[in-house]
Symmetry: C2
Subunit: 140 residues, 2 copies
DNA sequence: TTAAACAGGATAAAATCAGTCTTAATTAAA
DNA sequence: TTTAATTAAGACTGATTTTATCCTGTTTAA
């Protein structure tokens, strides 16, 4: 049921890149600032890049940059970039994975639940999260 | 993000006990009919009993029985009986588990998301699931 | 008293998670 | 054109969790 630590790291990472909006930021900096192991973070950024959430630049002065505005990146985007398609039960993704499929009374429920979960996670974009963070900080 | 196989077994098990409403059913029968390893199922039934979803009877003629009507057992009940409190991020359960708590802009989101997820899972009770199953069967 | 059932703890194999390491490939700048 | 800085990709590894099994003890109907 929980997201993995990897996903948690990924979220921190996107959050950091949101602050650095126009700049190209190196793995080392993100790793240091967000307290994520550097080599693990490298893998995570690769996944985020493959999902087109960040752009990568190789070579000297290389690094990473958000691929679109924070308002257009949701928690769902990040979770699915790292963990693959969200679903509480794999049978909700593919009927074939559900051995007991045909007469399983729970199957339609899992399909609906998956839809609801995706909607909930999709509601939170990083622009919104950033603002919440700023309000918190203001309150002390 | 996914429920474990254990939880999946638990759901099948409750489903089976729903059919047997007034009877006391032995582990062996449930295990055989629901295709769940017997010794694993024994553990699962213990958890369901501790969560007061089923009643257990020891000794000769012992077995298990639903502790309340199917309409009053939800998917949330079963998932939490097996996996503990539902949450995508542990920080949503306990501020203290969240090292970066105070200024983490995502924290309030996890708390909301947890609430939504619980609500969604709570919507499905076993009476409803049973009916869906019957409709499916009728359609062939 | 006995046999049939569940309770609970110890143990173990398999899978997944959370990383590390090494060897490319790329690129700005000397 | 060489070099140093940077990411890309895959192999590998240790720790943790999942998915069980087994054994001993307790309860209870007959």
């Amino acid at each position: 049921m929980e997201i993995t630590r990897e996903t948690d790291y990924a979220i921190r990472c996107v959050l950091y890149l949101c602050e650095k909006r126009e700049e190209i930021t190196m793995i080392d900096e993100i790793a240091r600032e967000m307290e994520v192991p550097r080599s693990f973070l490298a893998k995570i950024l690769q996944k985020l890049a493959r999902a087109s959430l960040v752009k990568s630049f190789r070579g000297v002065k290389g690094g990473f940059q958000l691929a679109r505005p924070p308002a257009r990146i949701s928690l769902l985007d990040v979770v699915e970039a790292i963990e693959g398609e969200v679903a509480m039960n794999l049978c909700a993704l593919d009927q074939a994975l559900c051995g007991r499929s045909k007469y399983c009374p729970v199957h339609p429920a899992w399909v609906d639940i998956r839809k609801d979960f995706r909607k909930v996670l999709g509601k939170y974009n990083f622009e919104k999260l950033k603002k919440t963070g700023e309000r918190q900080k203001a309150k002390g």
